[in-house]
């Protein structure tokens, strides 16, 4: 009797999962395989041409000025974006956690930008950081003279030639980082706040009794205990920033000299403006590989943790 019930439960569970398994198998994995297949083909016109091209599309990209610029921009965007989100999120979470009055008010204010879509954020910050209409007017009124050019700057800081581009920190990208951090800080704030609330007061008290300074408490107690949260935030923000498209597309486009271009925007434009379908597919596969580099180790370690 017991056994029979178990069996029918199991069948029911499978039945419930089946539709989503089929849908995901087709609309995610079959499509990924198809994209991979196209990326090795000669399909670079409106007429599908699936003859095998080997690594030609990938070779083209790795030699391409625009793609190299996009990779450079993505790298620095990801670094600054993740650092900014972690830093701001932690500061604000500590602030809210310090038993201030009207805590709910600040929490909501800081969380609110997360409710917007990246497109809205992009349009808003496009105006705020526009060198002739935005915050620069404010700076001008305050008497500053060397106002920044924000996302129109074509300067590459600390640059040296690498491949066909100047490798270095694209200053224009920092404007995009500001907008992205503004939007996503709420997420790390919420994560860190939950983390801080999860650290029992006894632990901190014990550290204090042992004579630890506030700085030492943070360094030796709080930071280590928040480590799992930091890793989660890095993973989630990291895969987001590697795939970023909407914010850039709405805020700056690919920029003068491609200083704010990213592979996602390049993929869209090369596929649908130039009809280079195979090239676009190759960009998609490279982006997938980049994200996999972050996600796969995380998934593996998460699984080990479970068992």
């Amino acid at each position: 009797m017991q056994n029979k019930k178990f069996l029918s439960d199991r069948w029911l569970a499978i039945l419930f999962i089946l539709p989503s398994i089929i849908v995901i198998a087709v609309f995610v994995y079959v499509f990924i395989s198809w994209t991979g297949y196209v990326s090795f083909s000669n399909w670079n016109t409106l007429t599908p041409d699936l003859s095998f091209a080997g690594l030609q599309n990938y070779m083209f990209l790795f030699n391409d000025y625009r793609f190299q610029s996009g990779m450079r921009n993505t790298l620095f965007f990801t670094i600054f974006f993740i650092f900014g989100v972690l830093f701001m999120g932690f500061i604000l979470a500590t602030f809210i956690d310090s038993n201030i009055k009207q805590e709910w008010f600040f929490r909501n204010v800081f969380l609110f930008p997360m409710a917007l879509s990246f497109v809205v954020t992009g349009v808003v910050w496009q105006w705020l950081l526009n060198p002739s209409t935005g915050v620069n007017l404010l700076f001008g009124m305050l008497g500053f003279e060397n106002v920044p050019n924000w996302y129109t700057s074509t300067h590459i800081a600390f640059s040296f030639p690498l491949g066909s581009i100047e490798f270095g920190i694209p200053v224009a990208m920092l404007a995009v980082v500001i907008a992205a951090v503004w939007q996503m800080t709420g997420f790390s704030l919420a994560m860190y706040l939950a983390g801080l609330r999860g650290i029992p007061d006894e632990v901190k008290e014990a550290a204090r009794m042992d004579g630890a300074s506030e700085f030492q408490i943070y360094r030796k107690v709080i930071f280590p205990m928040l480590m799992p949260i930091t890793i989660s935030v890095v993973i989630i923000m990291g895969h987001m920033s590697l795939k970023i498209f909407d914010l850039i597309y709405a805020m700056t486009g690919s920029g003068a000299n491609f200083v704010t271009d990213v592979p996602g925007v390049y993929m869209f434009e090369t596929t649908f403006r130039a009809n280079f379908f195979a090239n676009g597919a190759a960009i998609a596969m490279i982006m997938l590989a980049l994200v996999a580099v972050i996600m796969v180790p995380y998934l593996i370690s998460a699984r080990k943790g479970e068992s």
Binding site: T152, N257, F272, A274
Partner: protein, 468 residues
């Protein structure tokens, strides 16, 4: 037990949903090809989407019902018109056009399938997937020239419409150069709806009067005027290349002015190389003109650049004549009083054409209805309904100039008297899309780097790769 029954019911419901969506797709209504994907995706999402999915389902069901009703009574046939006309004036023009067509053909119901954004890139993305999925719209907007010829015609997805031209005796109603633009191997593949001129310098009349200047007609005059303006502290030339086609647009007018119509056209057939001295001279002019642009060009789009001229922050703007529509309609300026215009340097008598066309895709359900529509848009009535609203001029040579404003009338005159019509590069009429996109990237890099050698090299490479 109770819970289990409920679960089975829900599951059954889901399966029915998918089945219904798929079934619908197999039916007559091909426009809903994306529905199964939508529904399937929605199932995975949380409850919040459920209401939406349901609503969508209802719509689909309603539509399906309508279709069967209509077909049963043989009432109205559907014609889907695909375009990227969603801006203020152009949408008004399209809707007026659809109304006029439906009045003439009460048995046809027009579906306006316009896709907004990306200067047509978004629409092109949707169109590409529909064409490749063998679900073409009834007819779609496409620029005459390479976009049509090296695009869907070369892909063998268009039906010729030469018979319409013969039946309607259109061969002398449209300029010969224009018909050539939409002809491949002796067959005509589309009907031109309108003409935009892309080699126009717009200028702020007040600024020109104040400094006692006249619109420049040669490169030397341009530099003279620009130097004077710069000394007086006025930005001579407004550029907004946030979307980089605008710098390519500026460059194409410079190429036309410097190389002449024949030299310009030779670039797209491979008869003139990009590493030739002639091209280098054109590039020198472009390089020098970039000395006169506004500093924040990368933060502006073409409207922002046009606005600089409108507000007196800059003196000139080189743009297609959709800018005239923007000045007159959106900003409420008077042609000739508030803004003036002239052909770009050295292009007097030359007319760079951007023309929106409609053609007949292969494999549509109702080719005769589509042909009726193509016949309709080729009439002077249709062209004079649409174009004044859109701010373009009619493609027919015998349209009624009185329907247009002062700018339109002068352009119609120039169009009819033009020595030659040349296809625009930046708007996909001169060269295959692959070349345009690579040229676009190379010019975007050049505007910042000003590295002539690099630009010549990239363009030569693009010519070798994309143009036989």
């Amino acid at each position: 037990m109770h819970v289990k029954k409920l679960g089975l019911l829900v599951l059954l419901g889901l399966i029915l949903l998918v089945a219904a969506a798929c079934g619908n797709n197999n039916g007559t209504d091909n426009t809903n090809a994306e529905e199964p994907a939508n529904n399937a995706g929605a199932e995975n999402e949380a409850g919040a989407d459920e209401a939406e999915t349901e609503a969508e389902e209802n719509n689909t069901a309603d539509e399906a019902e309508n279709n069967t009703n209509e077909e049963a009574s043989g009432d109205r046939e559907e014609l889907e018109i695909f375009s990227w006309w969603t801006g203020a004036g152009e949408e008004a023009g399209l809707l007026a056009l659809i109304d006029a067509f439906e009045e003439e053909h009460p048995d046809v119901e027009v579906v306006n399938a316009a896709v907004a954004g990306g200067a047509g890139t978004n629409a092109q993305a949707v169109l590409a997937s529909r064409m490749q999925g063998n679900d073409p719209p009834g007819t779609f907007q496409i620029h005459g020239g390479a976009a049509l010829n090296t695009g869907w015609v070369a892909a063998d997805r268009m039906e010729p419409v030469t018979d319409i031209y013969e039946e309607e005796e259109w061969m002398d109603k449209f300029p010969e150069d224009l018909i050539d633009l939409v002809t491949t191997d002796g067959e005509i593949y589309s009907v031109p709806m309108n003409i935009h001129r892309s080699n126009v310098t717009f200028y702020n009349t007040a600024i020109f009067e104040e400094h006692g200047l006249e619109a420049p007609s040669t490169f030397d005059e341009f530099y003279e005027v620009a130097d004077q303006l710069q000394e007086a502290g006025v930005v001579p030339l407004a550029l907004g290349d946030r979307e980089s086609w605008t710098s390519l647009h500026l460059f194409e007018t410079v190429m036309l002015g410097s190389l002449g119509a024949d030299g310009y056209n030779d670039l797209w057939t491979g008869d003139l190389a990009f590493d030739s001295p002639e091209f280098e001279e054109a590039l020198d002019h472009f390089d020098r003109m970039l000395e006169y642009i506004n500093e924040d060009h990368a933060a502006r789009n073409w409207q922002d650049a046009a606005q600089m001229v409108a507000e007196g922050d800059a003196a000139m703007n080189i743009m297609g004549d959709w800018a005239a529509g923007y000045f007159a309609t959106d900003l409420g300026l008077e042609p000739n009083t508030d803004f003036g215009w002239a052909p770009t340097p050295n292009t007097e008598g030359l007319f760079m054409v951007v023309t929106d066309n409609f053609g007949l895709p292969q494999g549509v359900d109702n080719p005769e209805t589509v042909k009726d529509f193509l016949r309709f848009i080729g009439t002077t009535e249709a062209q004079d309904t649409f174009n004044p609203l859109k701010g373009s001029i009619p493609a027919r040579v015998d349209a009624d100039p009185d329907a247009y404003n002062e700018y339109g009338q002068s352009t119609i005159e120039d169009f009819q008297e033009a020595d030659s019509l040349t296809p625009s590069l930046a708007h996909n009429s001169a060269a295959p899309a692959g070349f345009v996109s690579q040229a676009d990237q190379a010019v975007n890099i050049f505007v910042s780097s000003r590295n002539k050698e690099q630009l010549i090299q990239s363009l030569q490479q693009a010519q070798d790769d994309n143009i036989e």
